[in-house]
Symmetry: none
Subunit: 202 residues, 4 copies
């Protein structure tokens, strides 16, 4: 294992354990078997080390979300709200798979990134998709259908909750199939639950 790999490994370990800010660089480095000076031969700052551990994962994750979003954009306007979840469900395995194979990176992003550019990583993505959903809602309303037995803010909250669950379970559970099944179940609960609300109101 090269020095850099050792540094990355030790950095990952400490960042996971204490979070970015509270992980002492000294510990990271000495745990890897080196001195502080050695570290700066490889990274310019502590932050750079963190990004070396997370940038790729963050980008990869964003790419997947982006591809899902594009898929959703192709849905006919009047069906968007109803079918967004299906659209998402279809991609779920890819998403879970990605998070699974990038567990550490994702954990760093979600739980240990305080003090870095990735703090609130998830909410940032959620905010983007909020605009997307808001757009879908307005289109649906124009098309004459009454759909909102559910307030948009609630819908938004539900989505954020869903992703939080996704994050939690992926970071806890190692079996991909279980995760997919659970998240699909939850998505179904969401879908059926929302549909029942729509129907009740209309």
């Amino acid at each position: 294992m090269t020095t850099q790999e050792k540094l990355l490994k030790s950095g990952k370990k400490w960042f996971l354990k204490k979070g970015y800010k509270s992980a002492p660089l000294r510990s990271i480095v000495s745990d890897a078997g080196y001195t502080l000076g050695a570290f700066y031969g490889y990274y310019k700052t502590k932050e750079e080390l963190f990004y070396a551990l997370t940038d790729e994962t963050a980008k990869g994750f964003g790419d997947i979300l982006f591809s899902i979003k594009k898929e959703m954009d192709r849905l006919p306007a009047d069906q968007k709200l109803y079918r967004m979840i299906d659209c998402y469900l279809q991609q779920l395995p890819v998403l879970v798979d990605y998070i699974q194979t990038n567990r550490d990176g994702m954990t760093l992003l979600l739980k240990c990134s305080d003090g870095t550019k990735y703090e609130n990583f998830f909410d940032a993505y959620m905010k983007k998709s909020r605009a997307q959903i808001e757009g879908a809602r307005r289109l649906s309303q124009k098309s004459g259908k009454k759909l909102s037995g559910i307030a948009p803010a609630t819908f938004d909250l539900l989505m954020r909750g869903y992703f939080d669950m996704l994050a939690k379970i992926v970071l806890e559970e190692r079996d991909k199939d279980t995760i997919c099944r659970m998240m699909a179940e939850i998505a179904l609960v969401y879908k059926n639950g929302m549909i029942s609300l729509f129907e009740k109101k209309s």
Copy 2:
């Protein structure tokens, strides 16, 4: 306002702004109009000040959850899973009310407690209730009914997600009615969604 009250007030302000770890005790104390020496006449450590601001809220919140749990315990074993949500919905206003009137304390617990015994405050409670639900599941199974169109772990996850949403929205939104309505809506989505799953499977 007594010295102690001023310290508490200033401490709250700084912990809310920067989180437990990053809030310099110096700032807290000088903002209150005192010096560091004075502080240590009232609290042994910085951490103690934090707990002075949070212990009560944490306990109060726990008490409510505990009372909901007791309520649920009274449900007949064979109806537990189905009616837990109603049981919870019934208590929702109390819960929201409590969080609302203890916004600062709850925020401290949920967002600013990194480095204290309360980090991961919510998950800790959720883990306790997991045992509870697990118990319900086993009882139901004994009673011979097939209920789980939904896996218990999924149910657990859903509950944790629900509480996260509750936390999020309470920390973002100041209007109690809005919060209650949204959380009730979400609970309905949950309930209807789950019921539809049960029915489909059975």
Copy 3:
């Protein structure tokens, strides 16, 4: 002697000895009989300590130069160049006196300020007065007199040289009268030398 005074004294000593950049804060502080932490109770940065030792002197010195400049502004345009030196000579004692009584501060400004906002302190003032002199020169030319047996750039250089000499001698010599006499002599050399050039050419 208060702690702050000790810190200032030690700071002055080290800055004078090694210059701002090369003076280790550690030495400054431990020489004063304290630890690094103590220092930061009094100054936010090393730079702030330096400015505590120099700001006042810099301002005072600037004020005197400014008052000389205003004096010069009052001279009739056609006599400016010829009488600027007299005007300056008249204020010389004040200037020397000021530098004398602020020897340390002036030395810090002139020799030890590398890395601070005061590096090139003198040249900065010279640049300002350059504009002033250039103005005088143009006015003189308009008034029809041929005066420049001396190139403006040369004149500028002479002035900068003069101030450098002033700085040097003040920092070396402790007797005010001697300094005044020497600088007055030099000013006379300048004046007569320049006049002889003017006359030769015209």
Copy 4:
């Protein structure tokens, strides 16, 4: 270009840009296309590299000053003070020429030598020549003439001022003729100014 030449070139560039102390050896070496290890095959220390860039220039400059001094020594004792400037003026082109063709070296010596044995390079030479002038003064006095409408210390200061101006202008201006003209003008101001003083007093 040999390795050593590359190192020298890069060293010159960085020392000129940042000064001896602030120029990181790392930058010097990597800019030259090598690594730190390579450097130490050629020079024992960073300082040694600096001297490799300056020793020759320093010596050459000193030699010229020495030859001027020898020239002056040949002047009859009773005419020394009056004719020193002529003697110097005669050598001025040589001096300027030398500085011109060794701009970089001279700049290093005058502006970038902080932290090396050459800091205060100019003043060191001036101090040596002080002894020389002092000697001239004593001889003149012995010979019975009243010469000093000007104090020897003032004369000394003037000379140092002159050299500072020379340094400044050479480092700023690239055109040799301009430099020679300006410095000659200044020398004339000096000479005429001093003569007028002598005459006035006598």
